[in-house]
């Protein structure tokens, strides 16, 4: 429907049988005449049909590819059958991962400076679990390893690419300031806020303070 020549059922079969997110390149190998940008509307069309027929899964666009994934509604029943499948991320792991994701490439010392705690164990665990990898070494004494995120990170967090990361929130919207801070101290903070926030304060909703914990 979205593309004249594209067999949606065949595309669905291709993505279904792929052993990871099916890349645009692999889809193009199967459909050489595909117009650029035709995959996304085609997948949307397949997803609309899946939803209409009440299927418990859909095609998600992750890590520069397309993959069948169950809908969140069925997490409980899947985990009940195989509890060991559940991905476990401690808060330390999440914070470190967030830092690496937004600030890569960066060294362990930089991670520790930002988090204020020793991060050796958590970085090692993230390396072992293939969420981060060594992307290079800084040309500095000791040649410290620089870390970056992996494809597995994108797949786990359902991101198409690193550019898909949610924009960082501004500090002002995260910390409850009792009154409008117009004094000298506040102005000292502004340059930092500009540097770390990608988005103008469009989202000025109060920060959600509820803590997320997984164990």
């Amino acid at each position: 429907m979205s593309d004249e020549g594209l067999d949606l059922t065949a595309l669905e079969a291709l993505i279904f049988a792929s052993d990871g997110p099916a890349s645009a390149a692999s889809i193009r190998r199967a459909f050489p005449d595909l117009a650029p940008g035709a995959i996304t509307p085609a997948v949307a069309e397949i997803n609309a049909r899946l939803l209409a027929s009440g299927r418990p899964y859909e095609i998600a666009e992750v890590a520069a590819g397309w993959q069948f994934r169950t809908r969140p509604l069925y997490a409980q029943v899947i985990l009940a059958a195989k509890p060991e499948r559940k991905v476990r991320l401690s808060r330390a792991a999440l914070e470190t991962l967030a830092l690496v994701a937004y600030r890569q490439p960066l060294s362990r010392a930089e991670i520790e400076d930002l988090r204020g705690v020793d991060c050796g164990a958590v970085v090692k665990s993230l390396l072992e679990r293939d969420f981060v990898r060594i992307v290079g070494r800084r040309d500095a004494p000791g040649r410290p390893a620089l870390f970056g995120t992996t494809t597995a990170f994108l797949e786990t967090f359902g991101l198409r690419a690193l550019t898909d990361l949610p924009p960082l929130r501004e500090v002002e919207s995260l910390i409850s300031a009792p009154e409008a801070a117009g004094d000298a101290e506040a102005s000292a903070l502004e340059p930092i806020a500009e540097e770390i926030a990608d988005e103008p304060s469009a989202a000025s909703a109060p920060a959600d303070d509820s803590e997320i914990r997984f164990h």
Binding site: L89, E95, Y102, G116, V135, P166, L168, R169, D183
Partner: protein, 308 residues
């Protein structure tokens, strides 16, 4: 949070595992919690109040036998330092400078930055996570046709591929120049590992491992080949090749990182040292012997030696 008053309660509670303390991810997290609990501005922290509560929390941790990490103590010292600087009259020379004017500025900057990433982590965690909220079909890797380990490459296949790489080197100078090794085996091994890591778990063509490093000189190719063999020996990488139905190896040789047993740099260094000692002496070296091996020395010696 009055330590003296809550002491007994805490002790009793601990024995019955009833005490529930919010877990903090470090001193910055604890400070952020105190700032929010006191509803104060991050840029205008009442240092006296906050550091008092901070120390009280540390005392509580100590009573609960929670290991107070050095990071927490360092922050306590920082707070005390800021507090003492706040008591001093402002230095007129640095008053003009915004950053230097307030001793709390650096702490406020770190807290602000930490708050941003803490929130980013929470936002990421709320996404539908693979293997927590959403699930993809699992494929049994052992069912895939090119299962590694079973279909290993033949020695002849490897040598053939090596010949292919060597054949591509322009056979220019047949002059017999004696050149020293410009890179060490250890460096070559690390380069191969870096190349495989960059592939992010995917396989890399055997031939491609030789293309990555500038002009392919014979010594460079030999070193890279040795690196691959040495890394295979310590099981840092896997070498494999498809097979025909009658189990004849066919197609290109592929290499990838062995996920299960990623060696650290010390293991690579050790393997390289052992191998280099073997090559130079021509004798099998007992791996337990401490080796006097200095890659730095070799490299420096090679650098000032130009062949052309």
């Amino acid at each position: 949070m009055e330590p003296a008053a809550s002491r007994e309660e805490v002790t009793v509670g601990r024995n019955s595992c009833a005490v529930k303390l919010p877990a903090f991810e470090g001193p910055l997290d604890l400070l952020l919690h105190l700032i929010r609990a006191n509803e104060v501005d991050i840029a205008d922290i009442p240092i006296a109040v906050i550091s008092e509560q901070y120390l009280a929390y540390l005392e509580l941790m100590r009573m609960l036998d929670i290991d107070v990490a050095a990071d927490y103590l360092l922050m306590a010292a920082t707070l005390a330092h800021i507090k003492s600087r706040m008591l001093l009259p402002p230095d007129p020379d640095i008053l003009a400078d915004d950053e230097g004017a307030d001793p709390r500025a650096e702490l406020a900057r770190r807290l602000a930055e930490y708050a941003v990433f803490k929130h980013a982590a929470e936002t990421l965690a709320r996404r539908p996570l693979l293997n927590r909220d959403v699930f993809a079909a699992q494929i049994d890797a052992s069912a895939l046709p090119d299962k590694e380990g079973v279909l290993t490459v033949s020695l002849f296949g490897l040598l053939e591929a090596m010949q292919g790489v060597l054949a591509r080197i322009p056979a220019a100078e047949v002059r017999h120049t004696v050149s020293r090794v410009r890179i060490t085996l250890q460096q070559a091994m690390i380069e191969v590992m870096d190349r495989l890591r960059a592939a992010d778990g995917a396989t890399v063509l055997f031939e491609d491992l030789f293309l990555a490093y500038g002009e392919p000189t014979r010594e460079r190719v030999v070193l890279t080949f040795l690196s691959i063999l040495e890394l295979a020996k310590i099981q840092a990488l896997l070498i494999f090749q498809n097979a025909t139905l009658d189990a004849q190896p066919t197609g290109p040789i592929r290499v990838r990182l062995a996920v299960e047993s990623a060696p650290d740099e010390a293991a690579i260094e050790h393997a390289a040292a052992v191998a280099e000692a073997e090559f130079t002496t021509g004798v099998e070296v007992d791996e337990d012997i401490e080796l006097d091996f200095d890659p730095e020395h070799d490299r420096e010696a090679g650098e000032d030696d130009d062949v052309g």
